[in-house]
Symmetry: C2
């Protein structure tokens, strides 16, 4: 369903997607999730329910698509100082967002669908952000972990704790950064 | 809802739970998941739908409870040789099971509920298995990673890849074991 990914900007398909996504976001911020239905979303977005069914299949797929879009980062990681400092600041914000109520709900929505395309998309966003930091480290000549090391030993433990443990401690992200850095400097 | 955890064995509550769980497992093996409903489960388990609603709240909670029970290991990790060899064999089987279609569906079910109790339970099962291996290593005087190291650097990356990537390579689990071992021997 590649047309969902990159509808022609300003085209009818892009406008439908924007209207439906916005309606879902507004409804989720005001209503109980269990009360959100495709007919109500369609009414609010001023499209027919069949437009939504044709494009997204069912409510779960639509919620996963909206969640994946919301997890798309708005810009590059902030420049604080060294690539390591940039990573520390980025990861703190990333962990905070994912561990928040909204973040947990988005993760649940993204993981609830069977095809996994939205989950891959989210992981792709995270990897893009980390690649920016890796490129900065290379420019500075700083030793820095590889993308694989960062995904396995920094992102994975953070997401696992958020998904499977209720408690999430912000200091934990800093500790993981220190550990993955020690490894790449060793 | 502690009564769900440990109903008195053989009591009415335990019998209802066993009948409902078995009905769900049988139905999931034969029917499309979307066609599984509480009234159908109740009919098959020979209980009233209200018994199920009272005890589990909704279908999603019931599916998460069944999935968590199925993720409960049947015994201790097999004894192969050293604790490291036991870990390698255990982790290979663990990764295979979780990456299978049934495993992925169980993970999705466990993660779909808001309260997270079933997700914590599953993570607890994994931690218990790893603690058995840690105790064996201690008996043998083998160097071995801590529970935290194993959860962060072995289990978390495996589960992250299964949830967020479509591809999962069995050799990857062996590589993670080798890495976490190098660290704990360093």
């Amino acid at each position: 369903m590649g047309h969902r990914e990159n509808p022609r900007p300003g085209g009818r398909s892009a406008r439908v997607q924007a209207a439906v996504h916005q309606s879902v976001r507004e409804m989720l911020s005001k209503m109980d999730r269990a009360d959100v239905t495709i007919p109500l979303i369609a009414q609010r977005a001023n499209v027919t329910p069949s437009t939504i069914y044709r494009r997204w299949g069912d409510l779960q797929e639509l919620l996963a698509d909206v969640a994946a879009s919301r997890l798309q980062p708005e810009g590059e990681p902030a420049r604080i100082g060294s690539a390591r400092e940039d990573l520390e600041a980025w990861v703190e914000q990333y962990a905070d967002e994912m561990a928040s109520g909204v973040g947990r709900q988005m993760l649940r929505d993204v993981l609830a669908t069977i095809d996994g395309a939205n989950a891959e998309k989210c992981s792709g966003y995270t990897q893009q952000q980390l690649c920016v930091l890796i490129a900065r480290a290379r420019e500075n000549g700083e030793p820095f972990p590889s993308l694989g090391e960062l995904m396995d030993h920094l992102i994975s433990p953070i997401i696992y704790r958020i998904l499977f443990d209720q408690a999430f401690d912000a200091g934990y992200a800093r500790e993981l950064v220190a550990r993955v850095m020690r490894k790449s400097n060793a």
